[in-house]
Amino acid sequence: MLQPVQAARAVAQGMVVAIADFKAFYTWRTWLGAWLVRIVCQVAFYSMIGHMVGDSDYVVFVIIGAAMMACVAETLMTSASSTWDRTTAGTLPLLVGSPVEPGFFYFGRSVMWPLSATVTTSVAILTLSFFFDLSWTPVQIVLLLLLVLLASLSTYCFALVVGSFAMLYPGARNVMSAVVTVWVSCFCGTVVPVDFWPPAVQWAAQTIPMTHGLEAVRGLEGGAPAAEVTVHTARTLLSGAAWFLLSLLLFRRNFSAARRGNALVG
């Protein structure tokens, strides 16, 4: 039975790699001047569509949806970073040989994406709010940051499941993340309500944390009762936890197979 201290240590060890990778990936200049600008442009792109086709309420709906869509895209970069130990760094055999619990290690290993996504998504929402006369009180801004963080982390748990499959098929890592991102963007209520789609799609969308995270943020913006926002947040966390448990099992399965000598570390 894994002790909490061991689990925390595995996460912390993964985070060491995450920080090093993030520093190698971005400098402050490229993160601020390139990546953040790209995310703001992405939200502006969808906001302009909303402005072209709908009224001001619909523009607000799209600003929040598009920003959360960008959050999903950034968090899904976990699909690529879950393969780097195998493809780029070549450290996967060492990890497989170590007594680490892989699911917890990989939770720390790509955590830079949801944290970065929290900042980029929040900045994008607030920037576009300025251009489209959407106002937030200071308390709402604090709660917005918190809700975006929780939605990012819950989406990250879902992304870890994608990452566990990408580890097996590293050549398809970008295709997997692109398909999942655009699927979530399409069907989870980012630009049209979930009930626009057929019932089977609506049901599938309920399993995705971002569906509920979006409801929570929209509730906050629209002044919904606190209880309603809390329920949506709880659903976000609950679905995130379920995906996290699944990722623990899948990463453990990958490592077990590798220890038995399959091609993963060959």
């Binding site: 971005y26 792109f45 569509i49 295709v175 398909v179 630009v191 049209v192």
Partner: protein, 267 residues
């Protein structure tokens, strides 16, 4: 003199066709091919859902055309990223330069072949909109549509040639690949016509060739006569030619510099 010019033209053409054929064979096994293609039907559904939900089915054409333009640009970013550096890393660059073909034209030829992905992406976008929403986009001016598509593909390949040299000269490919997508979709007016932008932003957007392409392609699906078609084609041609000239000269400059530094086979 005439013989020299003929030989030079032959070298350029050989480079182009060799690159074109090589890329067609290579692309089949490359993940970038599927990465560029796979999102087109989903984007079509996404944009069609916006139009249908907001009751603006008169703008369905925008929703079907945008994913194709996005695929072309995604392919440009994906394939140009490591086109020169991969040749450098695997030691092929020196052999290519020793051969009598034009290396810059070889790169352009390869990137032109990548633009063939525009056709299946349009087909997927078209069929997705048709099957899911019953919207089968009419093309009222097929000549304008085909001409705009061809010139857009060439201009995108030209822009990708310029990018490929920029990647190897100064910039980190991955950062640019991740960054240059949505700013270009926005400024290129792939779904929202740039004529709806504020004046200053429209001015900037008109420097992006996609803004002329998107206007032409959308107009070709409308029953009304295409307004200012000549101007649009001319601007598309001009911006594409400028990108190509910049790209080819940048590659020549890079090769010259790498030769001076003895760095042809180094990363």
């Amino acid at each position: 003199m005439t013989e020299h010019l003929t030989k030079r033209r032959l070298t350029l053409l050989t480079g182009f066709w060799t690159g074109f054929e090589f890329q067609i064979v290579t692309m089949r096994g490359q993940a970038e091919t599927y990465f560029a293609l796979i999102t087109a039907p989903f984007f079509a559904l996404l944009y069609m859902s916006i139009m249908e939900y907001s009751g603006r089915s008169d703008l369905n054409t925008h929703a079907v055309i945008a994913p194709m333009l996005m695929t072309l640009w995604t392919a440009a970013l994906s394939f140009s990223g490591e086109m020169i550096s991969a040749n450098r890393e695997n030691g092929r660059l020196e052999l290519l330069l020793a051969s009598p073909t034009s290396f810059p034209m070889l790169v352009f030829g390869r990137l032109c072949a990548c633009m063939l992905l525009g056709l299946p992406s349009f087909a997927m976008s078209y069929v997705s909109a048709g099957l899911a929403f019953g919207y089968w986009m009419p093309i009222h001016h097929p000549g304008v549509f085909a001409g705009a598509l061809l010139l857009t593909a060439l201009a995108t390949a030209a822009a990708a040639t310029a990018l490929s040299s920029a990647f190897v000269l100064t910039l980190g490919a991955r950062i640019v690949q991740n960054t240059l997508s949505f700013p270009v979709y926005l400024l290129g007016g792939v779904i929202v016509p740039v004529s709806l932008f504020p004046g200053w932003l429209e001015g900037i957007s008109r420097l992006v060739f996609l803004s002329w392409s998107a206007d032409l392609l959308r107009a070709s699906a409308s029953p009304e006569p295409v307004e200012n078609a000549g101007l649009h084609f001319a601007m598309l041609l001009l911006l594409g030619a400028a990108s190509l000239a910049f790209g080819l000269l940048s590659i020549v400059w890079f090769l010259h510099r790498a030769r001076q530094l003895g760095a042809l086979s180094k990363e």
